[in-house]
């Protein structure tokens, strides 16, 4: 197995003046291809900060981050955008779909920002439709987000996260805005993706959601506090 994520002493410090917040305080983690990992921890422990750096939305203040073996700690804004576009899919708590834009157009969004020479409009539409079908929303391609339920919206967001064939899917509290039943549904979708070999890192507050994954990383005060590794337990 190859490490999709490897961090070395990752630090993120906010505030330049007197009061400094060490949101991440020396994080060393390694996540292999195909793993489904939950990140837990109390509020303010640095979960979102870690997700932002792993998701290439932000850069660490210090330390190294290797994504699929490539050192991405010192890339600039444009380079990070290229990485996000080609290797990472995001799922947010609040869905983050473009309003008044059809589900299909929303799912196509990552394909639009591929550089020219990649896919024709027809190919993009076909790909986006396939991704929508993969999350069971093939028949809702023309619907706007406000015509969809919360669970359906999140599934559109998952389709969007999939459409670029990313090597890594990042989900920050994907069930946080959903009721328990719909949350379970979304977890089933994620589990299926995991079953098909996707690498998923997910922040959650709910232990029963975290239990579905095979491994949990718990952060406290910007440090890795403990890890639960299901595969290790199962191996016993």
């Amino acid at each position: 197995m190859k490490a999709i994520i490897r961090t070395e002493n990752l630090r993120k410090t906010y505030g330049m003046g007197e009061i400094q917040v060490h949101a991440l305080d020396g994080v060393n983690i390694e996540i292999q291809q195909g793993e489904f990992v939950a990140v837990m921890g109390p509020s303010g422990s640095g979960k979102s900060t870690l997700m932002n750096i792993i998701g290439c939305l932000d850069r660490p203040t210090a330390g190294k981050y290797f994504l699929a073996g490539q050192d991405v700690s010192d890339l600039d804004k444009v380079q990070l955008a290229r990485i996000r576009n080609q290797q990472i899919g995001f799922i947010f708590q609040s869905f983050n779909l473009l309003s008044r834009t059809s589900a299909l157009r929303n799912v196509m969004l990552p394909l639009i920002y591929q550089r020219p020479g990649s896919l024709s409009i027809e190919e993009r539409e076909a790909k986006a439709l396939a991704a929508l079908e993969a999350v069971g929303l093939g028949d809702r391609a023309d619907h706007d987000p406000n015509e969809l339920s919360g669970g359906q919206r999140q599934r559109v967001a998952i389709a969007r996260a999939l459409v670029n064939d990313p090597i890594l899917i990042m989900a920050d509290e994907p069930t946080g805005n959903l009721d328990t039943r719909t949350g379970q549904e979304i977890m089933t979708v994620l589990q299926n993706l995991h079953g098909r070999g996707r690498t998923i890192v997910m922040v959650t507050h709910e232990p029963n959601i975290a239990e579905i994954t095979e491994r949990t990383i718990t952060l406290v005060d910007g440090k890795v506090h403990q890890e639960r590794i299901l595969s290790a337990l199962e191996a016993v």
Partner: protein, 436 residues
């Protein structure tokens, strides 16, 4: 569960992670795609887009209407000037001013000079003019500050003034200093209303004159309102109406002599002849003659210059309204960037680079100003035509003004779209995604 079945039925290829991303592949996304994104942005909020365009619509419309008005005015003026009568030479005392007064040491243009001008080969008609301002009374009405034009019998033919009622005075009446008056259309209306003015008696200053004719409506030509004049024999004007202290010189000083030339081709030659003769009789060099000698074309050019100044002024006014429109675009674009922070964050999260975002907003701004420009052109052309039809002013739609207006609309879009677009491009993706 249905979802599960659907997922397994789709072939989701396991991603290949052995090739690192080529982070240096900068390039821009396809222009068609940028246009589409920008169009979606514009179409998604139609009311806001319309408000944004409003400034440009008004600006572009104003440019076209104002240029149409000034072009219309210009056309009217040149038609009037051309209607003055053809092949006319204007000889004026001083440099455009003339009349009693001026520098007493300078040679003056006098009544006797008319003979000299008339004697030049190629001159087929002459008229002369001297003016004073008088109070004029009929039985019922008193008008003050009316220009009284003293002239000669050929005036109507030389200056193309039609006599609609009665007649103009003749040579005999000129010689006899007959107490006759010809009223212009406007003055006749004011003094006599619907009554027939012919044969009526009016008091000019203290002298009683008999009205023998009325000039047809003519309008304003150049600086002269032909409808508010009274004409009388110039000999009578010298005798009765010019201030006494000038009697010796000014008694026969004239403001202007008109010479009608037979052939337009002779114009330059005739002017030279006139200049030589005048210089001879005044005993000065031709270059020192203090007279302005102008042709029809000179006057048209002068008028052209003034209407061009008028047109420039209007263009400035319109330019300012375009500028205001541009600032309007910038304002609403700035608000729009703030409102759409979340959208920008979403786009950034899926891989939009700062350049992609900048291009999107810049294209939106240009799109808004171009669509606004097109609507503005429609408003301007239709408005210009309607204005011409419903008001006294004539309008001529100038094709160049359409290009000018459209070009400025595009420029406004680029210029004022740049700042908001840059602001959008520089947003931090994390903060943008967190924006409520």
């Amino acid at each position: 569960m249905t979802t599960q079945q659907e997922i397994t039925s789709v072939n989701l290829i396991k991603p290949n992670i052995s090739h690192p991303v080529d982070v240096e592949s900068y390039g821009i996304i396809s222009p068609a795609e940028i246009m589409r994104i920008a169009w979606e942005g514009v179409a998604r909020n139609k009311v806001r887009s319309l408000l944004t365009m409003l400034g440009v619509i008004i600006g572009v419309g104003a440019v076209i209407i104002m240029i149409a008005i000034s072009a219309g005015t210009e056309a009217t003026i040149s038609e009037q000037i051309e209607g003055l009568g053809s092949n006319l030479v204007f000889i004026q005392a001083g440099f455009g001013r003339g009349g009693p007064g001026g520098n007493n040491n300078d040679p003056t243009l006098i009544y006797d000079d008319v003979e000299l001008v008339a004697g030049v080969n190629g001159v087929v008609g002459t008229a002369v003019e001297q003016q004073t301002t008088q109070t004029i009374k009929s039985d019922s009405t008193t008008l003050t500050d009316v220009p009284l034009v003293g002239t000669t019998p050929d005036f109507p033919s030389v200056r193309d003034v039609d006599i609609s009622q009665g007649r103009f005075f003749n040579e005999t009446e000129l010689e006899r200093k007959s107490k006759l008056a010809i009223l212009s259309h406007g003055i006749a209306q004011e003094l006599f209303g619907d009554e027939n003015p012919i044969g009526q008696s009016i008091t000019v200053g203290t002298t009683k004159l008999t009205v023998i004719g009325v000039a047809a409506e003519r309008g304003i030509v150049g600086n002269t309102d032909f409808d508010s004049l009274v004409y009388a024999p110039i000999t009578l004007v010298f005798d009765r109406f010019l201030p006494a202290q000038f009697a010796r010189f000014a008694g026969d000083r004239v403001r202007i002599i008109y010479a009608e030339i037979e052939e337009e081709a002779d114009m330059e030659n005739v002017i030279t002849q006139i200049q030589l003769r005048l210089a001879g009789t005044k005993d000065v060099a031709v270059e020192e003659l203090p007279f302005t000698i102008q042709t029809q074309n000179d006057i048209i050019e002068t008028e052209g210059a003034t209407t061009e100044a008028f047109r420039n002024l209007l263009a400035w006014v319109a330019g300012v309204s375009l500028l205001v429109g541009g600032i309007g675009i910038m304002n609403i674009m700035l608000v729009s960037v703030t409102e759409r922070t979340r959208e920008i964050g979403i786009r950034q999260s899926v891989g939009a680079t700062p350049n992609d975002i900048r291009l999107q907003f810049l294209t939106e701004a240009i799109l808004l100003s171009l669509v606004g420009g097109l609507i503005g052109i429609a408003v301007g052309v239709i408005g210009g035509i309607l204005f011409g039809q419903t008001s006294d002013m004539r309008t001529v739609i100038v094709p160049e003004s359409i290009f000018l207006a459209f070009g400025s609309a595009a420029a406004v879009g680029i210029f004022f779209g740049f700042f908001p677009a840059n602001k959008a491009a520089q947003l931090d993706p994390i903060e943008a995604l967190r924006y409520e």
